[in-house]
């Protein structure tokens, strides 16, 4: 459902001349599965997900989402994904219902489907009591629920979550994770980025560990742990990152480029 081929992204930068935010990333995600992108801050997770949601264009490589190419048919891609990040804002001067209605209409839903969809989502996420309150008066947790509802209103087959629990308290974060699990069980194709190991462990069927724009390792949790001598994902993660850093340093001293470690 999601096929990513050799995706690269470079940004111009004042200090270093150019930043390689993403370097030859490739992976696939199937329907009914949660694919985790696990990596520290600045690893390239957000860049990757922004490219998949067509906000950014890749420097090279491409990806197909539900059969649509992100470069050739960005509109088609946007119509088939729901995107949610920890930093997405809401319009303060709109109510929860208006927000969701607005995006539903932009997705081309007719009024019957729209109100049915809103009723269902608002009930599932128990949002009815604040449905007509202005977003500016909502708590952080409520706002994130509005964002989730906004991402789900057009019932997309693919969902992209970019650190959706950032800044949320434990209770709300748990509710978000539960929602993601429910969506997976409904057969959605989900890609979920996080820097929190426990979230990845709990939620993801398969994971990719990403660092400095490259995928260091990928596979199911069991595959990853079997490949390493570590018993726990976090230790494995640290191992990979430190191996990578030493490798980089050696290569820098011999002045040759590192070869990228491939994903699945």
């Amino acid at each position: 459902m999601i096929e990513v081929h050799d995706l690269s992204k470079r940004f111009p930068d004042l200090q270093q001349g150019e930043i390689v935010a993403l370097d030859g990333v490739r992976f696939t995600v199937d329907p009914g599965e949660v694919f985790g992108l696990l990596g520290p801050n600045g690893a390239g997770k957000t860049t990757c997900l922004r490219i998949l949601s067509t906000i950014l264009t890749p420097t090279s490589g491409t990806a197909r989402i539900d059969g649509r190419d992100i470069v050739d048919d960005p509109d088609g891609v946007r119509a088939r994904i729901g995107f949610l990040s920890g930093s997405t804002g809401l319009y303060d001067r709109m109510t929860a219902r208006e927000t969701v209605e607005y995006f539903g209409r932009l997705y081309g839903l007719d009024e019957d489907r729209l109100s049915a969809s809103i009723d269902r989502i608002f009930t599932t996420l128990s949002m009815n009591e604040f449905a007509d309150t202005l977003n500016s008066r909502l708590s952080t947790g409520m706002r994130q629920k509005v964002s989730i509802a906004r991402a789900l209103v057009h019932d997309p087959p693919v969902l992209i979550f970019d650190e959706p629990t950032t800044g949320l308290d434990v209770l709300v974060a748990r509710a978000v994770l539960d929602t993601v699990a429910t969506l997976r069980d409904e057969g959605k194709c989900i890609i979920y980025s996080t820097h929190i190991m426990r979230e990845a462990e709990r939620l993801c069927d398969r994971l990719a560990i990403i660092h400095r724009g490259r995928i260091l390792a990928a596979g199911s949790q069991r595959d990853l742990l079997e490949a390493s001598e570590q018993s726990d994902l976090e230790e494995h993660f640290f191992d990979l990152v430190s191996q990578f850093e030493t490798h980089e340093k050696q290569h820098a001293s011999t002045k040759s480029g590192p070869d990228s470690e491939a994903g699945p």
């Binding site: 940004f11 004042l14 067509t54 906000i55 050739d72 946007r78 319009y91 001067r93």
Partner: protein
């Protein structure tokens, strides 16, 4: 991003409706757009009325010495001048007159009278000191004493609280009567009877006293007129004796026109200011605000295309811009009408000329709001999209306002009138047209400008909108994080990371050097040339031209290149080409020359007179047959070809040349090439040629054809000027060119037809040329 071009108007409508509702829920916007105009003008109006009441009440004090010697008719009535000497009898209240022979005097006025006498003594001293000298330029030995006396009198007048001191000399009435008698009896005297002491009106330099003194002067003037009338009557002489000519000045202005003049000046200004304000604040909220609140990302992942988002936002901004302007006009119009009525009822007969414009005027005001609102909405949206935060966005308002105010001031200056060239300038065109339409709404020659003004304004709005859309497609603009700018790092990076070809920033720096250099050099150069003896001047000017070209165009481009860039040959496209390519360029120059020449001749009416006559004559002698041909070809054809091509088709073109966007680079380099030519018709001419040159260089991938074209094109112009064409041409030439003593050399249509055919063939060939691709 390859958005398909088809627009989904449903999505535009949905986004537009949301933005509109969002803005209407924003108290700040509502205040700026609705509350401010509705409250501001009435409040200002009331304030002004109150100020007028407060400030007009205090009467000024006039002290008069020697009032006993006043002749009749009666000048002073009680403690004021008699009302009949004022054009508005109510004004008599504004001046209190204190005289020596008033019965009931307060202690203050008694003190003022004694002060007045002392001042009079000082004044007599001053008169004696001056004697027959001119008080404005006294002899040096008296200057100091005169200065001291002047200051003393001034000070005493101020301290005494006397605004105006009038001194009537003793026996003034008798002197007048004696002269009247002499005139009536027609008796001649040995000496001129006019030599008798005259009244003096003394006033301090204080602003308020000066106003009072002007009133007193007017009273004395009308009193004097009456005295003169009586004198003539007594002598049995005609009233017209002192005014044999008395030409009548008749101002034929209808009442609507007079008010239209006021409106014509005031309303375009208000319209411009309000469309800017009404556009700017919503634009900042809609673009920069969206980034700041983190909703931009949400909006970008919605299925609406970016161009649809921009259009919806543009429409929203335009609604607010238009609404602000309309509400302001209504509020100002109603306030003005009400004020006029109020003032009119108090002070009937004087028309302030501020009554609202006629219906047709209102109609044109509403029509002209549209191009202005569209233009400012698009510009504001583009600026606001560029800004990182609402705060940064608001910083951009001041430069925009300054530019707009400059244009408004330019439109208000009396020399600037509606004419073809002005009508296609942004902001200026609509203001000038509106001014004319308010005065005369149906004049055919004014209405003829309407399509041009509207068309040009919408083209500018379209360009600004295109800029806004391209901003929305730029990742670096949309996701500009608040990175800190470090000058040291930046400079270091310029050295360590030299790009192969220049950046747009580098090109703009280069152009700025060329432009400012030209402006700075203009004055000293003209001064230097005029200091030279006449015969050397033309030659010196030619060499100055060469120096200017090398210094301002070639040098910056060549100096910046090794410093900033790593690939000089790619920047300047120093690619070798076949002789046939050069031949194509030369052929194109030869074919285009007569066409461009005729086009410019036919467009002469369009441009304002560029140069004063003197400069034009100088240019003629400079480029005329007195100079050797090789020098002119060197200075006017070869040097510009090298210097201008390396700057514009080398540096600038490469800076903006990106894969798939070479047309933008051609357009920009052509406009820049036009802009450095300064004089409007040359700007047009150079831009046109810049387009051809840009195409030539981009398609062939080499600067040499551009150079060849430029040199040949200018060379033909030089030779044509020098060619001493016989007035009678051989038969073969007669149908190609004609030489008229008045209009000079011109090309006939057979030649133009051949040239047009040749140019078309060559341009099509060039268009289909396999392009070597972008320099990047």
């Amino acid at each position: 991003m390859t958005d398909r071009p088809r627009l989904d108007f449903r999505k535009i409508r949905i986004v537009f409706q949301r933005e509109l509702r969002d803005q209407l829920r924003d108290r700040r916007t509502l205040f700026m757009v609705m509350a401010l105009p509705v409250l501001l003008y009435p409040a200002l109006g009331i304030g002004m009325l109150q100020m007028a009441v407060v400030f007009s009440e205090k009467p000024r004090t006039v002290v008069m010495l020697g009032s006993a010697s006043l002749p009749s008719p009666q000048l002073v009535d009680g403690t004021a001048f008699a009302p009949r000497w004022f054009s508005d009898p109510d004004d008599a209240q504004r001046l209190t007159v204190e005289t020596t022979d008033q019965p009931h005097t307060s202690p203050e006025s008694a003190r003022r009278l004694s002060d007045a006498k002392a001042i009079h003594k000082l004044f007599d001293q001053r008169s004696q000191l001056i004697g027959t000298d001119d008080p404005d330029s006294p002899p040096p030995e008296k200057a100091q004493e005169l200065q001291r006396l002047n200051e003393l009198i001034n000070e005493r007048l101020r301290d005494a609280g006397i605004d105006v001191l009038v001194v009537i000399p003793d026996g003034f009435a008798d002197s007048l009567q004696e002269i009247n008698r002499l005139i009536a009896s027609r008796s001649r005297t040995a000496e001129d009877p006019s030599e008798y002491p005259r009244p003096v009106i003394l006033v301090s330099g204080d602003e308020k006293s000066l106003i009072a003194s002007r009133r007193v002067e007017r009273v004395f003037n009308s009193w004097e007129k009456e005295l003169l009338r009586l004198r003539l009557e007594a002598a049995g002489l005609p009233r017209s004796l002192p005014s044999p000519v008395d030409a009548a000045v008749v101002k034929i202005v209808g009442s609507t026109q007079e008010s239209a003049l006021v409106w014509g000046k005031l309303y375009p200004v208000i319209l411009v200011l309000m469309t800017v304000t009404g556009a700017f604040y919503p634009a900042v909220d809609l673009a920069a605000g969206e980034k700041e609140r983190g909703t931009m990302e949400t909006l970008l992942i919605s299925p609406a295309k970016r161009i649809e988002l921009v259009l919806a936002k543009f429409l929203t901004v335009m609604v607010f811009s238009t609404a602000t302007a309309v509400l302001n006009l209504i509020s100002l119009g109603l306030t003005a009408t009400y004020m006029v009525q109020l003032v009119g009822s108090v002070n009937s007969g004087t028309d302030v000329g501020l009554s609202p414009p006629p219906t047709s005027g209102v109609f044109w005001l509403l029509i002209m709001i549209l191009p202005l609102a569209a233009f400012f909405s698009a510009i504001s949206l583009a600026l606001a999209t560029f800004a990182r935060s609402t705060r940064e966005g608001q910083y951009y308002l001041s430069p925009l306002m300054i530019v707009v105010m400059l244009l408004v001031a330019l439109a208000a200056s009396p020399g600037v009138e509606l004419q073809p060239f002005h009508s296609v300038l942004p902001v200026l065109g609509p203001i000038l047209l509106l001014r004319e339409l308010l005065v005369n709404p149906t004049a055919a020659e004014t209405l003829a400008y309407l399509p041009a003004v509207l068309g040009a304004s919408f083209v500018y709005a379209g360009l600004a909108l295109w800029w806004a859309v391209s901003q929305f497609h730029s990742e670096s603009v949309l996701f500009r994080e608040a990175e800190r700018f470090d000058l040291r790092l930046w400079v270091k990076r310029l050295w360590t990371h030299k790009p192969p070809v220049p950046s747009p920033g580098g090109a703009i720096t280069c152009l700025a050097i060329a432009m400012f250099g030209q402006v700075l050099l203009m004055q000293p150069l003209a001064g230097w040339l005029s200091s030279l003896p006449e015969p050397d001047r033309a030659k010196a000017a030619i060499w100055a031209l060469v120096a200017q070209q090398i210094l301002l165009f070639l040098l910056p481009a060549w100096m910046l290149t090794p410093a900033l860039l790593s690939n000089i040959s790619r920047t300047f496209r120093l690619r070798r080409v076949t002789p046939s390519t050069i031949a194509l360029a030369v052929g194109l120059a030869v074919a285009l020359h007569p066409l461009v020449q005729e086009l410019m001749r036919h467009l002469q009416w369009f441009f304002p007179q560029g140069l004063p006559e003197g400069s034009q004559d100088f240019l003629k002698t400079m480029l005329g047959p007195t100079q050797p041909a090789w020098l002119l070809l060197f200075a006017v054809a070869l040097t510009p070809a090298i210097c201008e091509e390396f700057l514009f088709r080398g540096f600038v073109l490469s800076a903006f040349d990106r894969p798939g966007q070479s047309h933008v680079a051609v357009l920009f380099s052509a406009v820049a090439f036009g802009a450095v030519h300064m004089i409007p018709h040359q700007v047009f001419y150079a831009t046109l040629l810049g387009l051809v040159l840009g195409l030539l260089v981009i398609r062939t991938g080499s600067i040499w054809p551009g150079l060849a074209f430029h040199a040949v094109f200018n060379g033909i112009a030089v030779l044509r000027e020098r060619w001493d064409v016989p007035t009678t041409l051989p038969a073969w030439g007669d149908w190609l060119i004609s030489n008229n003593a008045e209009t000079g050399l011109s090309y006939d249509w057979p030649l133009l037809l051949i040239a047009a055919l040749a140019a078309t063939v060559l341009l099509v060939t060039l268009w289909r040329w396999p392009s070597p691709g972008s320099v990047r």
